[in-house]
Amino acid sequence: MSQFVSLAVTQADALKSGLGSVGYGLAAIGPGIGIGYLVGQSVQAMARQPEMAGQVRTTMFLGIAFAEALALIGFVLKFI
């Protein structure tokens, strides 16, 4: 009997960790789209106005940091 209980517990643990991975995958969709769009637009801006490239790059990294924070929170939630 007890071995069935322990088997159920291990399977529940495995399911939980698997669900965490799926959750991280879901959390990465939004920031992925956002960062792609953001970098694409920044490249366009740099190509159109090369003299502003430095400022655009700085703002781009700041925007990436904001968008990426969501994916990072998802990454940590997997380990909790």
Binding site: G54, F61, L62, A65, E68, A69, L72, V76
Partner: protein
């Protein structure tokens, strides 16, 4: 399933036994020794590089000057402006080169372990940045720093209901958290990726348990291993650059609130 049985627990990639000064307060394992060695390399590079200053730089002085000027130009002056940038450039250059020399161990042969993939070092760095930008904010704006950062000017009054909690959570929790976790997660993921491709290559080419036909299959993970090592080099530089530029942006926001 087969691969999962081959792999030991992933923690074995990251946990090291103490090597020096065992069972004392100063016990050092591989991670701690690597951090100390990186610090020494950093100090030596800039100490030797600036000892005999020549008008036309040669050798190590060239490397040190080029590295410092890159950070000064691309990060400090670019983000903070001419005057503040030159003042903060030494701190930012120190930050960049320390993180860089720790990250780059992930691709050095026979060591191949970035010490930043243990969370302690990123957390220390993020807390340092956090304390510095809040301290600088209070130093330059006095008690008005709270008002400027929680109630940004130029926002309609009704929106403060929404903006103030977001700004508070962002400044107090999300900034240090995302700084630490970004560095940690990137280096950890890279290290695990390299380890997996190395194990696959070794199993297919060196061991080939279930037959010699596995050897040609091993070429694929081997080239992936080489490509990923090159990618890790890029990640090591990029992550230290991003950490430095975000520190510069946060400190600059505390010094010049209107921008």
């Amino acid at each position: 399933m087969v691969l999962a049985e081959l792999l030991p627990n992933v923690n074995e990639l990251f946990e090291w036994k103490g090597v020096l000064f065992q069972h004392t307060l100063f016990e050092l394992n591989k991670t701690g020794i690597m951090a100390l060695v990186s610090t020494l390399i950093c100090i030596l590079l800039f100490f030797v590089g600036s000892r005999k200053k020549k008008m036309v730089p040669t050798g190590l002085q060239n490397v040190a000057e080029l590295g410092y000027e890159t950070i000064e130009g691309m990060v400090a002056v670019e983000v903070m402006g001419e005057e503040t940038g030159r003042k903060w450039a030494p701190f930012l250059a120190t930050l960049f080169f320390w993180i860089f020399f720790i990250n780059i161990w992930s691709t050095v042969p026979f060591i191949q372990f970035p010490a930043t993939s243990r969370i302690a070092i990123p957390i220390y760095l993020a807390l340092q940045t956090w304390v510095i930008f809040i301290f600088v904010g209070f130093k330059h704006q006095g008690i008005g720093y709270i008002k400027n950062s929680l109630f940004p000017p130029g926002v309609p009054k009704a929106l403060y209901l929404l903006v103030t909690p977001i700004e508070f959570v962002s400044k107090v929790f999300v900034r240090p958290f995302s700084l630490a976790v970004r560095l940690f997660a990137n280096m950890t993921a890279g290290h695990v990726l390299l380890a997996i491709f190395a194990i696959m290559t070794s199993q297919l080419i060196v061991e080939h348990n279930s037959g010699a036909f596995q050897i040609p299959l091993g070429i694929l993970p081997f080239f992936a291993l080489i490509a990923m090592t090159a990618f890790e080099l890029l990640v090591a530089v990029l992550q230290s650059y991003i950490f430095t530029i975000l520190t510069a942006v946060y400190v600059n926001e505390s010094i010049h609130p209107e921008h």
